[in-house]
Amino acid sequence: MRAHASKLSLANIWVALTTFLLAALMGLYQVAERSGLFPQIEVIELYYRSVSSHGVIMGFVLTTFFIMGFGYWIIHTTLKTEIWGGKKLGWFGFSLAFGGTVADAIMLLSGEASVMYTFYPPLKANPVFYFGAAFLVVGSWVWCLQMVMSMHVWKKANPGAAVPLAMYAMTANAILWFITSLGVTSEVLFQLIPWSLGWIDTIDVGLARTLFSWTLHAIVYFWLIPAYIAFYTLLPKAAGGKLFSDEISRISILMLLVFSVPIGMHHLYVDPFQDAGWKFVHMIGTFMVAIPTLITGFTAIASMEVAGRLRGGKGLFGWIKALNWSNPMVLSGGLSLLMLTIGGWGGMINASYSLNVAVHNTQWITGHFHLIFAGTSVIMYFSAAYYMWPSLTGRPLYSTKMALIQLWLWFIGMVVLTLPWHVLGLLGQPRRIGVPPYADDVTAPWAPYEFLMLVGGVILFISAVLLIINLLFSHFKAKAETMPVMEYAESMHPVMNIPKLLNGFGFWTAVIVVYMIASYGYPILQFFLMETNGTFPWSI
């Protein structure tokens, strides 16, 4: 049982890690190209190939595979049961997703799909690209099923018992992913694939963008929740303390689940095909979804304070000093929370109904999501990997010191990369351009920030290499005498009677469905009620 679970987890996580390294190299190329210091690499077609590949890998591959691996390991280590569906189902899902990824990688790297991570029509990629994306998503749905059913079976076998928080939250994440990925899957299956194969002549770009927006916001919460899981269930343990509140953590996860999907239209604020009224409705939900993040911040920091004080920290801030910063999980927790604070407030501006026009599609947006996703979320993926590695591989981590250096470099690199990036957006630089070829008086103010970004990019690439070395070399260390155990944080107040609503998802799924119909029902239906003009395929 352990062998299968660990093999399946490691397979998924290694797909994530290897593609991550490749995408990190592309990121370095891009930031070097944009600096203008290396004219020989300024090949516009190559730049867009890189941006598309980098985006798809970081946004669809690294994330999905890492989360699946993490999820499988959570089933094994918290429920201590078989993964539902057994070996065959898990590997089947993996093969679908991996096959789709390989197909997409070939398309992207050969320049047949330079249509960005968002693949907005009417720019058309090779149809194989869309098929690959569909396989990747459908493969991940197998994982979703396994998460949900594993929890369901466990609950039946343990009536009245509280589902372990890590499992509960990751299952919520699986449900979230399934619901949100329906948007892009519909776009791919009903619009992009038939259109790219020539079965239908035109598609409605407005409908395509609306369907994509359905996925586009909640996908970032799909990425973020595993970081929050680490905050709640791994960080307090590593810090030597306890989780401040198990119930509040569940409430927070549920708020994220309910409020993250039906708010996608803040990505369409300046699109003309949706009425302002609907955009306003989505704005309200977008601010609501900020609340669980604020709550999580409190819970995480409070848990750390508990640990700090248990270690002897005194006074208002003494507990910070007392924490065990030489533990990778503790260090990453602190660094992640710092990045969450800055990036989170940036997000509030993006969410602002009337202020969004100042930043829409400027480099502020790109800076924002690198800080909040590549920073806050992904640094916790690294530390979750370090944390899981001993129990997953049966061997100690290759080097804790290297892990600490790697995490510091990631944080410093990310700050140096993204803060100038935000400024570039405020200085007017638009998104998705290579070396800015505009007039000198327009681009001159940008140059120093581009240079800083290059420095950040170099630091990040070094960090990425250290991560892979550490995790890879761990496989070759001598086996530990006793099998390391994956330990989760206990709650400060043990959960006695868990309310049903905080232990299941039936009710909440119904709430989401109703909310989705209310907030996306007419905005999608309108395209079928009015006469629209479709668009033929275009190449880049």
């Binding site: 907005y120 407005g206 009425d275 009337s354 998104r431 998705r432 070829p437 668009t535």
Partner: protein
């Protein structure tokens, strides 16, 4: 279910902050009529140059019957047409944009004139420019290999200069 007192206060504070921000945005939207571009009008992008509103004779700046100003523009790979617009400062302007081909975006840097230009739909932005100067107008949505180069200049001039140039027949 036990919830710590401090945590309870924070939860309430979080809700309060979120509602306060929503409230401020709602107040501005309603009072000052500040809304993102959302006109929901369709058009056929394949016949744009044959349409009534976006044919080649009609693009550019025009004074409407009621004295207001309307700028009609087309986004097509890789430029905004007409190039080099001159508009008066402190005057309400209605921009009407359509795409002749793919998805574009247009943002006049340092202003709130920012909208997607979606094939099949007309974009409308109503705004006023409070400062005189030359503002770059960028395409900010990936539209192909020439996206980097797709930009224009918006020349915001004094009202007098604008009246002069209208008389001289500049568009």
């Amino acid at each position: 279910m036990h919830i710590d007192g401090t945590e309870k206060k924070w939860v309430i504070l979080s809700f309060a902050m979120a509602f306060a921000m929503m409230g401020i945005l709602a107040a501005y939207a309603i009072n000052k009529n500040i809304h993102p571009p959302s006109n929901v009008e369709t058009i056929d992008s394949t016949t744009l140059h044959l349409s009534e509103e976006f044919n080649e004779d009609n693009i550019g700046i025009k004074r409407e019957a009621d004295g207001s100003l309307r700028v009609t523009m087309v986004a097509a790979r890789y430029g905004f047409f007409p190039h080099n617009l001159k508009i008066p400062v402190d005057t309400p302007i209605k921009f009407r944009l359509a795409s002749a081909d793919v998805l574009h975006g247009v943002h006049t840097a340092f202003t709130n004139m920012n909208t997607m230009v979606v094939p099949g739909y007309i974009s409308e932005v109503n705004t006023t420019f409070p400062k005189v100067g030359k503002f770059p107008m960028f395409c900010n949505e990936y539209c192909g290999l020439g996206h980097d180069y797709m930009w224009s200049q918006l020349n915001v001039v004094s009202k007098e200069d604008f009246e002069k140039s209208m008389k001289e027949g500049d568009k």
